[in-house]
Each structure stands twice: as structure tokens, then as C-alpha cells.
């Protein structure tokens, strides 16, 4: 062992002495969170355009209560109160965008409190939760307010044939197929942020481009939809909708871009991300096709969230040079 003797520095300088690396990427937790909030702007815009400017209240209430709950619990737990890292605001905003238009503001507030309280802080705060907090909040509201949360509003600029029912419900119960361009545009019934595929994709592509969202999760979900949904469609195109409809309708894309990709509750390995994404699509197809509900993105993501620790454990990447025969 090295014997370490101390020598009084002759030229003492009080510079930073942290260890390498001395450079760091431009990202920090707060910057990432605020950036994700920013990429939701197109979805917010589509919500306000199709369901009215008053929907902003739902978002404000959700964000306010989410941040308030976070601060209150941090204070109670005698932790440093961090109001502005953007993560609680993001949970609130995401939750609000999954709610139906004109949803009760008091119920929204309850949803936010549950999302942060039960979804996140009870596990120890940021980084420690198992389930997507926004979806935990929404699942609670689904159970507590089953009627309100499935009461849809007919959107502005709706085509005559479009009813207030969501495209998935219209198909499931009445076999009415909504045109894909309406699904892409967003003038259809549904939750606030999910109806416009274009708005969702603009935000999502930004997230992938800057490297916040790992492309593997949305891509594997979409491939999964083509495989599982496509299989059913090929078997009976009258009974089952095309995979394209499955992808554009409901909250699939919103879930694929903003919910399943939540860092904390998705796998950390590349292979794990593929399993996770494909798993979500499989569970989703089962719910949509054979379940009583027309939609199931929320449940399928929460279901797969539970498997993330085990997925991580069994998908450790092969260490460089490991188990590979060395060619001489």
C-alpha cells in the first residue's frame, strides 16, 4: 500500500477539486423536467382548440395541487422543499391531459393529490416510485368517479358524423370507424391531450431528437401494435380494427410518447425497453379487444411498470468482450 504523507502546499489554490469527468452534458433533472413540460405545449394547444379555452383551468388546478402536495409532503418529511424542479408540475400536467374535457375541478385536485402522494412521495419522492404517478392519479379517479371520467364532450370543429363518444368506444360498441385524418387532426372525442396525434407526435419527436426519450420504447410499442393488433385484423378485419386505427385512436400515442417513457418507471436497459414496449402493446390489445373497457393504455402501462425491476434484472447487457470467443 501507498503510504500517504501530507505536505503543506507551497502554493495553495482554492479551486474545485472534484474528480473526473470535469465536463458535463447540459442536462440536469430540472432542465429535463421543464423541457418535457414544454414539449406538451402542442397537446395543450390542441386541448384548448378542440375543447375550449376553459380547459386551461383543469390543467392549472392539476399542476397547482400537484406542486402543492409535493411541497407539503417534503415539508412534513423534513426534506428540502424543491418546488421548481418541474417534476411535480409535469405529473400534474400529464394527469390533466388524460382527463376528459370539462372534468370536475375538485376531482382533478383530488387526482393530483393522489398522484403525487400515493404515486410518488409515498415511495420516497423523485426517482423512487414504481408506478407512473400521473397514471396512478388517473386510475384513482377512474375508480372514484367512473361516470364523470367517461363523460365525453363533442369537440369543436367536429365533422358531422363524429359523436361525443371516443373513437375507440364508437368502434367497440357501435362498430363505427373514425377517419384516420380526424384522429391525426384531433377533432374527435377523448381526453384533453390525447386526441390530436399530430400534436402528440410533435412533442414526442422533439423528446426523441434531444435524447430525453429513448426511441426504443415508443418504437417497440408501435411495432407491438402492428404485430398484435395486425394479427387480429388479418384474422377478421370486420371484427377488429386495423393496427393504424389502434395506434391513432385513444391515448396510445400519448401513452407511448409521454407516459410509458417516464424515466423512473421504465427499464434502464435497451433490451428491457423493447420487452416493456412490446408488453404494453400486448396487454393493451388484450384489454381493448377482450376487456369490458374500450381503452386500456393506462392499465397496460401501470401493469408493465410493475415488471420493470424484474425486466432490468434479467436484461443486463453483455459486458464488452464477455462470453465471446476471441478470434486469433
Amino acid at each position: 500500500m501507498e503510504t500517504v504523507t501530507t505536505i503543506e502546499p507551497k502554493q495553495k489554490v482554492y479551486f474545485d477539486l472534484t474528480i473526473s469527468p470535469h465536463l458535463h452534458s447540459q442536462w440536469s433533472t430540472a432542465k429535463v423536467m421543464w423541457f418535457v413540460n414544454l414539449t406538451l405545449v402542442p397537446c395543450i394547444a390542441s386541448a384548448l382548440i378542440f375543447f375550449g379555452i376553459q380547459q386551461i383551468l383543469i390543467m392549472l388546478v392539476a399542476v397547482l395541487f400537484a406542486v402543492g402536495t409535493e411541497a407539503a409532503i417534503q415539508a412534513i418529511r423534513k426534506k428540502k422543499v424543491i418546488l421548481f424542479d418541474g417534476s411535480a408540475a409535469l405529473t400534474g400536467l400529464l394527469l390533466s391531459l388524460t382527463l376528459p374535457p370539462n372534468f370536475s375541478l375538485s376531482a382533478t385536485a383530488i387526482g393530483s393529490v393522489v398522484a403525487i402522494g400515493l404515486g410518488k412521495q409515498i415511495f420516497g419522492g423523485i426517482g423512487y416510485n414504481i408506478f407512473n404517478p400521473a397514471l396512478v392519479g388517473r386510475a384513482f379517479l377512474q375508480a372514484a368517479f367512473p361516470v364523470q371520467i367517461t363523460t365525453w364532450t363533442k369537440p369543436n370543429y367536429a365533422v358531422d358524423s363524429i359523436t361525443s363518444a371516443t373513437p375507440l368506444a364508437a368502434f367497440k360498441f357501435d362498430k363505427l370507424l373514425t377517419e384516420t385524418y380526424s384522429l391525426a387532426f384531433g377533432n374527435v372525442g377523448g381526453s384533453l391531450g390525447e386526441t390530436s396525434a399530430i400534436a402528440v407526435l410533435i412533442g414526442g419527436i422533439f423528446l426523441i431528437a434531444v435524447g430525453i426519450v429513448n426511441w426504443r420504447i415508443p418504437v417497440s410499442m408501435i411495432i407491438g401494435m402492428f404485430v398484435f393488433g395486425g394479427a387480429l385484423w388479418i384474422i377478421n378485419p370486420q371484427q377488429y380494427p386495423s393496427p393504424v386505427f389502434q395506434i391513432f385512436a385513444g391515448s396510445f400515442l400519448f401513452g407511448a410518447m409521454f407516459m410509458a417513457t417516464d424515466w423512473v418507471t421504465s427499464p434502464i436497459t435497451g433490451k428491457g425497453m423493447w420487452i416493456f414496449g412490446l408488453g404494453i402493446s400486448l396487454v393493451l390489445i388484450l384489454i381493448r379487444t377482450f376487456g369490458g373497457l374500450p381503452e386500456g393504455v393506462m392499465y397496460s402501462i401501470l401493469f408493465m411498470n410493475a415488471f420493470v425491476p424484474i425486466i432490468n434484472r434479467y436484461t443486463r447487457p453483455r459486458i464488452f468482450g464477455e462470453q465471446k470467443e476471441v478470434k486469433k
Binding site: 502546499p9 479551486f15 474528480i19 473526473s20 469527468p21 426517482g127 423512473v264 468482450g321
Partner: protein
């Protein structure tokens, strides 16, 4: 020409524009030099001089102790002031020879007999490399003589010259390639001769098109030597990554490049070998880049080994007001300095003075499990888990997922949005695991 590479890695801002256009300047001999006896991996050298002895430039002042060791030569004419513990850029003091330079004896100089590169034998090359005290110039400072003496059962089929210089800021290797391409190729040929290898590759990152152009032109008529363009990505210059990119082979954990038939030498090492064999010069000067937004006049310099950092900073116009960090080496793997009396060593490749703007430190938060470190790790490790296991003192688990494989390149910590000091945790865990393994073999 498409560029070869490896999986993973990151691309930090390069900052090479600060110095890449600046030719090498000679740093004048300082008043005093400090020569640590351990400027290389392996055993400390044994001093051959005592207090009061007169020495001249190039004179052997310490001899190697054992196979993995290297001799040390004086880089000035002068008188030995003392031998004892002195501060080093490695962060802890080491036994060093301090020499006071004399003023009017600049023309005295010791050198070896120059050898003809055409007729020199492999043994003569190895011997010269050993007695000239050449160590790897890439940073690890492994005695080059040892690398040129592989065990008989290892079949070496390629020599790769590492011209990646993937660390931001550093432009020393680039300047060598631009200013001394012939010496570089001569050095490569000597290495190939010493090892009896027919194939030589110079791997250069594609952010140095000028170097690629010059060297490609120079090797056009050289048999068995080629220039390979590599993708600009950190850590492209890490041995394992370079071998993967050039040959497609992966060095298994715990093995050496020679196990897959490759020997890697740095650009600076090849030049030093040329200087030692053809010119007879022992390794007494370090070529380095002084850069960063915190230094007033960034430069590429030839500096006598042993020169205190302080003198070099003064020579470069001093630091700016907003400088916050002084680093010896590159910004990704270099060491922050607390005492500017620390000397330049044989393998010192850069002195960087960084400002707050460059280091962008933000607050640490809990791990967000984003997986970016896993995605970026060039060795396919799971840095966040390695750090976590270390925090929990679960060293067996850390060992199980390969903590000892980590080369501490810093890619994970660079990319971590939660700003977790991953390298620091992993280094700690690694030390504990190695200790554990040692105890295991002893019992």
C-alpha cells in the same frame, strides 16, 4: 470514407479550436525542476544522484527497479537540491529529485549514439526504448519497453497508433501529426520492427481531416501501413474501443490488447521512440496542450519534464478571473490540482484551466433511472447499478455485474442528468472489490 467506431459513448463539446492551429513552442528551462521517481506505472525508479551533485540535460538520475519500471533523466543542466517527498499532479506526494537549474551551461547535453533505422535490430530498439525512459504518452504512462516485449506465446499481428485524441481540448497529438508526420511514421515502423509485425494502423478521429489527409498521403507508398478514419466520439481513444473500431475484436474483461493480437501506442510515444532511436534523445520533455477558457494564452508546448504547473501558467499569461478548476490531463479523465507546484510528468498531455461556464455543475438529485448511463457506457456496464451497489456496500453484487471491468472513462457521469458522481462511487466500489478479491486469494 465512412468512419469506424464502437457502440455507446458521448460527444462532449470539443474546444479544440482554442489550440489546434497553434504550433508547438519551446518552454524555456525553469529555475527548478521536480522529478518524481514514479512517473510511470510499476515500481518507483531508484535515484543515482545525491544532494549537491551536478547534472546535465539528458543525464540518467534514477534507474529502473525491476521489469515494470522506467529510468528518469534530468531535463535541465543544474545541481541536485534535494531528494524527498514532493507534491505531484496525481494528488499525493511522492519521492522526487529536485534540481536547481544553472544559468550558463545550456549547451551541455547528454545523448545516446544515434542508430540507423534501416539496420537497427529489434533488440536494439527495445533496449534504446528502455534506456531512454519512454513511457506511454496517452496518460497511463505504462513503460513502453514492456509493451514492446510481449510474452513469447502472444501472437501480435497489428500495431495501432492512437491518433484519436478523443479528450476535448487536447491538441498535442494533432499538432504532432501535422508537424512531424515523417517522424511519426518512422516511430511506427520502429515499433513494428521491434515486434516483428507487418501491419500498422494509424487511427484518427474524423474531426481531424487535415491530419488524416497528410498521413494518408505519407503512407501511400509505405507497405503494410494504413490510416483509418474513426468517428469522433468519446472514448474512441480508449484501447478497447480503438481495437474494436479498427479490428472488430473485443478485448475480454481482465485481458490485454495483446490477447487479441494488438499493440496500441500513442502518437507521442511513437515520436518519442523515433527521437530516442534515430536522434539518441532520452525522454526529457513532455509535449502538452495548455488550454481552457480560463487561461489567457492557450498554447501547445514542449516542456522540460519536472516543470511546475505554476511556471507554465505564468508563461501562458496567467488565469482569468472566472477560472474555477485546474486539471492535469484531459477534462474527462484528468486530475484536478490543489497545488501549482506539482510538476509536469513524462505522460502529462495537457494542463487545462476551466471556467464555471465549461464545467456546468448542477445539483445532484436521486437517480431517475433514465438509463442514459447504461446506453452510453462503451463497455456495456450498468453504471447506475454499480454506484448504487457501492452506496449500499453490496460489493459482491457490484462484482457480479462487472465493476472491475470499468475503465473510469467518465462517459456515464458526463451524461447523467441527475449529476450523480458515478465515477467516484464506482472507483470506491472497485477498490473495495479488488481488496475483497485480494483477501480471497490470500485465504
Amino acid at each position: 470514407m465512412s468512419s469506424k467506431t464502437f457502440r455507446g459513448g458521448v460527444h462532449p463539446k470539443e474546444y479544440k479550436e482554442l489550440t489546434e492551429h497553434l504550433p508547438f513552442e519551446y518552454f524555456p528551462a525553469p529555475d527548478e525542476i521536480i522529478l518524481p521517481l514514479s512517473q510511470h506505472l510499476g515500481k518507483e525508479a531508484k535515484p543515482l544522484v545525491k544532494k549537491g551533485d551536478e547534472v546535465i540535460l539528458g543525464q540518467l538520475v534514477a534507474q529502473p527497479d525491476g521489469f515494470i519500471s522506467a529510468p528518469i533523466h534530468s531535463s535541465v543542466n543544474g545541481k541536485v537540491l534535494s531528494i524527498g517527498k514532493e507534491v505531484t499532479p496525481l494528488g499525493f506526494p511522492k519521492d522526487s529529485i529536485v534540481i536547481k537549474a544553472s544559468e550558463n551551461s545550456v549547451d551541455k547535453k547528454f545523448s545516446f549514439v544515434p542508430l540507423d533505422p534501416e539496420t537497427v535490430t529489434p533488440d536494439e530498439i527495445r533496449q534504446r526504448v528502455a534506456e531512454a525512459g519512454i513511457v506511454g504518452q496517452g496518460g497511463a504512462a505504462f513503460p513502453t519497453y514492456v509493451k514492446l516485449t510481449p510474452p513469447k506465446d502472444k501472437l501480435i499481428d497489428v500495431v495501432i497508433i492512437n491518433g484519436c485524441e478523443c479528450e476535448p481540448y487536447l491538441t498535442r497529438d494533432y499538432r504532432f501529426m501535422i508537424e512531424r508526420p515523417d517522424d511519426l511514421i518512422s516511430g511506427l515502423k520502429l515499433i513494428m520492427k521491434a515486434l516483428g509485425v507487418k501491419r500498422g494502423v494509424i487511427g484518427i478521429e474524423d474531426n481531424k481531416p487535415e491530419a488524416i489527409k497528410i498521413l494518408s498521403h505519407k503512407v501511400e507508398y509505405e507497405e503494410g501501413i494504413e490510416v483509418v478514419s474513426l468517428k469522433t466520439k468519446y472514448p474512441q481513444g480508449a484501447e478497447k474501443m480503438l481495437i474494436k473500431a479498427v479490428t472488430g475484436k473485443e478485448v475480454p474483461p481482465g485481458k490485454l490488447p495483446m490477447d487479441v493480437g494488438a499493440v496500441i501506442q500513442n502518437i507521442g510515444t511513437a515520436i518519442a521512440i523515433h527521437d530516442a532511436v534515430v536522434k539518441g534523445e532520452p525522454l526529457t520533455h513532455a509535449a502538452l496542450t495548455v488550454s481552457g477558457l480560463g487561461i489567457r494564452q492557450p498554447k501547445n508546448l514542449y516542456v522540460p519534464v519536472g516543470t511546475p504547473i505554476q511556471n507554465i501558467i505564468e508563461f501562458c499569461g496567467g488565469v482569468t478571473e472566472d477560472a474555477v478548476k485546474i486539471i492535469v490531463g484531459g477534462p474527462m479523465m484528468g486530475i484536478a490540482q490543489y497545488d501549482l507546484q506539482a510538476p509536469v510528468m513524462k505522460a502529462t498531455s495537457g494542463i487545462l484551466i476551466l471556467t464555471k461556464k465549461e464545467v456546468t455543475e448542477s445539483e445532484e438529485t436521486p437517480c431517475l433511472r433514465c438509463g442514459q448511463c447504461v446506453d452510453a457506457c462503451p463497455l456495456n456496464l450498468m453504471p447506475t447499478k454499480l454506484a448504487r451497489y457501492t452506496q449500499l456496500k453490496r460489493y459482491e453484487d457490484a462484482e457480479g455485474i462487472g465493476i472491475t471491468v470499468c475503465m473510469e472513462c467518465g462517459t456515464c457521469a458526463f451524461t447523467c442528468p441527475a449529476n450523480i458522481p458515478l465515477v467516484q462511487w464506482i472507483r470506491l466500489g472497485k477498490q473495495k472489490v479488488l481488496q475483497m478479491q485480494k483477501e480471497r486469494t490470500e485465504n
